[in-house]
């Protein structure tokens, strides 16, 4: 809402600088976004009178003018415009002047003839034909205003107003008006507020002979007032009215249309003017649209209407979409004779639905949808009548139709100053509260001092937002001053701690950071194409995503069912930025659909990705192992991951370099090297390693706090063993055999070498372990250790391994 400060001053006399005004109004709840003074970008432009206009000696297109600018001597200006003649009054930009857009005018020579400034067009002053309808657009602005030669152009043509831009919240449609803001301003400064009381004389005539109004749906239309203006004279509005519209950001059109806009800006009540010729049957029906009906709106578009929409119709067809926009033939035209004014109260939700469905948001619908006060219909139309007479643009019929009539008074709300103070934590005297409320137009009835009768407060009808005591408390608080409320700490004892899930998440984060991984945050929605990029099988359940019906674009249209593509994208971006190495993790969420019309599951997932700095499969595996250790998840078993490993993302990994980690037989993580094809899709020129850990499921396995194990009292016996076996035999299998063979004195098996190549037969590998054995009760003897080694040999031979 752009407020003209000049307009405001009609109703309240504000005597503070505009910057202070903006601050003060903001602090009482009418938030100011900014302000703009018209003509502030114009400097040293004055009114001049052309004394003579003669052809330029060296040009057919230029003329040389002597211009009286109110100085002792006339000045000479060369112009290329063809619409000027001696005697014209024109805007003159003097030497050293500034025009909108930062244009500076300096004196100079044009084809050898001195020119000491510039004659200006409308456009050069930042104006259009709508501001001065008598001027032409492609020529010098010939001023037909009452002004003095040499006068600053800004005062001469009324470019002096300041418009303040308010951000009005949706609960205060009453403040989408000059009067509403004047009331707030007056209350802010405790100044008298003089709302207008429109008066008109009218010509005798019974409107009922000319017009019939029927509200067929009184749920969606609470009130409809129709009035008539006859023999209208369509012309441009007077300058003062145009100036006010311009300062309010509304384009002047013609007097009748301007009046409806003026009233809407002043009262916040949208109005409509119909050309009576096109109201067939002289009847107005406020009714729901019929199935299949259409209307061509003022903007020339054919709109399909549906039965839940409210329309204004004559006996044959809809002539306007109620509260949204008028129909093509209903508007005011050059040859309009009789005009019907509409001032009505339509249901906010209905207007909102209709305007949304038709994709048509207007100043009118924006006001109606917030819920307007039916009591506002009458003063608005009376003001319109008054303006018609003031502008002399028609004969107002002295009767009007009021369907629905004055609404009932608002329900009173309890007024209990003690409660308000106890709610706000303040100590505001009752009389101050009453003062604040009365300034805003509330009617306050004090309660019985003995507490026998409750106090009451009745909100003015336009305060559609006031419903309960808390609303009254807010009115009091904002004029008492939010910042005068003295803060009080919360009292009482409260226990708080992180949930198990949050603790686990923090442990995982710390572990990742300690392991040298840097945390990332990626979008939860992705492109469905990302599933193709990681080669997810066509029938994978992960392709079934929660889908956004109104996404910003395909790239952000589905909620991810796997966190890995986000990691791949991030790695690829870093690779493209020529970051030579990366080691990243994200503690993110997946969104896994459940049933139709039910919410998805949102499990926590830990993704890890890395390239460069010598990273290989075992680097990422080591990281995954350490993460499990950090959250006390023991007994993790790793095996080569196939398509049926429990992670459909197995497709994105190198088939020979991908492992699934399982706890208790349940897959909990997948890790490995990115498939070369996938790496190529992402544009990597290096090997990339990724892992995903089902963090949510870890909660089930994450061990209790670690308990202390006594440090060993007796020395360990360590034996090395080296063997040659089939390359296919997994080391994990060998380790299991060793563990079984050693029994409970086994402390640790440490792999220290795996070798394939020369000296080893094809299809075989050499593996070497260090085996640490220790007893908690005694020193192991050499015999005991040797016996264990013998058992190991036997066990290994059973799988065809040859111990060396």
């Amino acid at each position: 809402m752009d407020l003209s400060m000049k307009w405001l001053s009609d109703y309240v006399k504000i005597d503070v600088p505009v910057k202070q005004f903006c601050y003060d109004l903001t602090m009482t709840g009418s938030k100011v976004e900014g302000y703009k003074t018209e003509g502030e970008d114009i400097d040293r432009v004055v009114v001049g009178k052309l004394l003579s206009v003669v052809p330029h000696e060296n040009s057919d297109h230029l003329v040389v003018c002597q211009v009286d600018v109110g100085a002792a001597e006339p000045i000479q200006i060369v112009t290329g415009a063809s619409n000027v003649k001696a005697g014209d009054t024109v805007p003159v930009a003097l030497d050293g002047s500034t025009l909108p857009g930062g244009v500076h005018i300096k004196k100079g020579k044009l084809r050898g003839v001195e020119s000491n400034g510039m004659l200006c067009s409308l456009g050069e002053l930042g104006l259009t034909k709508h501001d001065f309808p008598y001027a032409i657009e492609d020529g010098i602005f010939i001023i037909q205003e009452d002004c003095k030669i040499g006068e600053d152009i800004r005062s001469a043509i009324g470019l002096e107003d300041t418009s303040v831009e308010f951000e009005i919240t949706s609960n205060r449609p009453d403040c989408l008006s000059v009067i509403g803001l004047a009331r707030e301003a007056a209350a802010t400064y405790a100044l008298p507020f003089n709302p207008p009381a429109p008066k008109y004389t009218g010509v005798a005539g019974d409107i009922n002979e000319k017009l019939k109004v029927v509200i067929e749906n009184n749920q969606l239309c609470k009130r409809y007032i129709g009035g008539m203006v006859r023999n209208v004279k369509i012309a441009p509005s007077p300058r003062w009215l145009r100036e006010r519209l311009r300062a309010s950001g509304v384009r002047p059109i013609n007097n009748l249309v301007d009046i409806t806009n003026y009233v809407m800006l002043e009262y916040g009540q949208p109005m409509h003017a119909f050309d009576a010729r096109f109201i067939v049957g002289n009847e107005i029906h406020v009714r729901n649209a019929k199935a299949g009906e259409t209307i061509t709106t003022l903007d020339g578009t054919v709109r399909e209407l549906s039965p839940e929409m409210l329309v204004i119709a004559d006996t044959e067809k809809p002539v306007a979409v109620a509260g949204v926009m008028g129909g093509e033939y209903s508007g005011i035209m050059g040859d309009t004779v009789d005009v019907i004014f509409e001032s009505a109260a339509f249901d906010g939700a209905s207007v909102r639905r209709t305007s949304k469905k038709l994709g048509m948001r207007t100043d009118s619908s924006a006001r109606f949808e917030k819920g307007l006060d039916p009591a506002g219909c009458l003063p608005a139309i009376l003001r319109a009548f008054e303006l018609v007479e003031m502008l002399g643009c028609g004969e107002v019929l002295n009767t009007y139709i009021d369907c629905g009539g004055e609404p009932k008074k608002r329900e009173p709300v309890k007024f209990d100053p003690d409660w308000i103070n106890s709610f706000l934590g303040t100590d505001i005297p009752e009389k101050d509260m009453i003062t604040y409320l009365e300034r805003l137009g509330f009617e306050v009835r004090k309660g019985d001092p003995l507490g026998l009768i409750d106090g009451k407060v009745i909100a003015p009808s336009f305060r559609v937002d006031i419903e309960c005591e808390a609303d009254i408390a807010e009115e009091v608080a904002r004029f008492y001053g939010y910042n005068n409320i003295v803060g009080q700490p919360l009292t009482g004892v409260a226990n708080a701690s992180l949930s198990d899930r949050q603790k686990l998440r923090r442990k995982l984060e710390s572990a990742c950071i300690a392991l040298g991984l840097t945390q990332i945050e990626t979008f939860s929605f992705i492109s469905p194409k990302y599933y193709d990029k990681i080669k997810l099988p066509a029938d994978s359940k992960l392709r079934n995503s929660v889908t956004i019906t109104n996404p910003l674009g395909e790239d952000t249209s589905v909620m991810r069912t796997t966190v890995l593509p986000s990691m791949c994208e991030t790695l690829a971006r870093n690779y493209n930025y020529r970051n030579t190495e990366a080691a990243l993790f994200e503690l993110g969420t997946e969104y896994l659909p459940t049933e139709p019309d039910k919410l998805p599951n949102e499990p926590d997932r830990l993704s890890i990705g890395m390239y460069g700095n010598g990273a290989d499969f075992f680097t990422i595996k080591g990281i995954v192992e350490e993460i499990f250790a950090a959250v006390s998840v023991d007994n993790v078993e790793y095996s080569a991951a196939g398509a049926d490993c429990g992670f459909d993302e197995a497709s994105m990994f190198h088939p020979g370099r991908v492992a699934v980690a399982e706890v208790g037989g349940k897959p909990i993580a997948i890790l490995g090297e990115m498939h070369p094809d996938v790496a190529e899709v992402y544009g990597f020129g290096t090997r990339v390693y990724c892992a995903k850990i089902n963090a949510a499921e870890l909660l089930e396995y994450a061990g209790a706090e670690r308990t202390y194990k006594p440090l060993p009292k007796y020395p360990a016996a360590t034996r090395d063993i080296s063997l040659v076996c089939d390359d296919e035999l997994p080391v994990a299998r060998i380790e299991k055999l060793i563990a079984g063979a050693v029994g409970n004195v086994l402390e640790k098996i440490r792999l220290f070498d795996v070798y394939k190549g020369e000296q080893i037969a094809g299809g075989k590998k050499s593996v070497a372990f260090s085996i640490v054995m220790r007893s908690a009760d005694c020193t192991l003897t050499d015999e005991q250790a040797d016996a264990a080694m013998k058992r190991i040999r036997k066990a290994l031979e059973s799988v065809g391994a040859e111990v060396r």
Partner: protein, 339 residues
């Protein structure tokens, strides 16, 4: 024999002078004092001496041995000291060469700030509670006093999954879950992702994080809201931090306020960062609307409460002087590595 011993003594002295390293010293020890050394071979001849001569020669022999041993020890100490000094001299480094650090992982700046805020609230007795991001319309709007067709819905352009399911546009949805599930007193903090249909630019993102705070109990006042905000902001930004409340409107609070913080950049004088205002908008707050309490089965005549929602991105950007929100989701290591 006596002469032979004295000759050895002189020779040893002369030889010892020439020794410059540990190896030569060991050769010297073997040559003179070893089992097959010069001194030993002389002493082996002692058997052939008379009973009178033997003690005398023995005494000389002991003196010579003792002398050589002492000098050897002295020489050894001297050599060791020289070696040590040389090593220290030779091992001198250019200490201005760069260090070799193990790679350190970094927390994302938003997560660091999130944990900092969570910890402040835990210290004040708030539980951390989370809620679903894909949410029913009821929890995100309806129960928060924003019925269908309410114009306030326009201020939060929402992503919809179905007519009834959406991506939550505010963490206030968690308020409703909490009030349904718990009885007052309630003190909770709910951080998480929220979604609005805003194209991404330097100050907007379709995904961002809010941190919702809710307190419901008997006798909770707006002064408690002011006091709590003040405490939290001082913990977060330091004691000199100043907040300012402006009346505003949110359908789920009454009274409602927007809360500004004194501009970090200019300290209130007005600069480009605060657009000349001296204050920067930080969060929305208010007293829980009685209708919202009632919707969640809490009697508004008995209980009152306050709530506020903090934008994590805004706090993070303010704290680290980040001027473009996109950096937070781009995850460029050159950016993340700075924290």
């Amino acid at each position: 024999m006596k002469q032979a011993l004295e000759k050895i003594e002189l020779l040893a002295k002369a030889e010892l002078e020439k020794i410059t390293d540990a190896e030569q010293l060991e050769a010297f020890r073997i040559r003179f004092l070893g089992k097959k050394g010069e001194l030993t071979s002389v002493l082996k001849q002692m058997a052939g001496l008379s009973a009178e001569e033997r003690p005398i020669v023995g005494q000389i022999a002991n003196r010579v041995r003792g002398g050589i041993e002492a000098e050897l020890a002295e020489k050894a100490a001297q050599l060791k000291a020289e070696t040590a000094a040389r090593r220290l001299r030779e091992e001198r480094l250019d200490v201005t060469l760069p260090g070799k650090a193990p790679r350190l992982g970094k927390a994302h700046p938003m997560d660091s700030v999130m944990h900092e805020i969570e910890d402040i609230f835990i210290g004040m007795g708030f539980d951390i509670v989370e809620g679903p991001e894909v949410e029913y319309d009821y929890y995100n709007f309806e129960a928060l006093n924003i019925p269908a067709d309410h114009p306030a819905r326009d201020t939060q352009d929402t992503f919809f999954i179905t007519d009834n399911i959406l991506l939550r546009s505010q963490t206030s949805s968690v308020q409703v879950h909490v009030m349904e599930d718990r009885k007052p007193p309630i003190r909770i903090l709910s951080p998480g992702r929220v979604y609005r249909s805003d194209a991404i630019d330097a100050t907007h993102s379709p995904i961002f994080h809010q941190i919702e705070c809710l307190v419901v109990d008997k006798g909770i006042t707006m002064a408690n809201l002011v006091g709590t905000l003040d405490t939290v902001m001082k913990r977060l930004y330091g004691e000199e931090c100043k907040i300012r409340l402006r009346p505003h409107h949110f359908p789920f609070t009454e009274p409602s306020a927007e809360v500004d913080i004194l501009c970090f950049n200019c300290g209130g004088k007005g600069c480009a960062m605060c657009k000349g205002e001296g204050y920067v908008e930080l969060l929305g707050a208010g007293m829980v609307h009685p209708k919202v309490l009632a919707n969640c089965g809490i009697d508004p005549n008995e209980y009152s409460g306050f709530a506020f929602g903090l934008g994590l991105e805004r706090v993070t950007m303010g704290k680290y002087g980040i001027n473009d929100l996109r950096l937070l989701y781009e995850n460029d290591l050159r950016f993340l590595g700075q924290f």
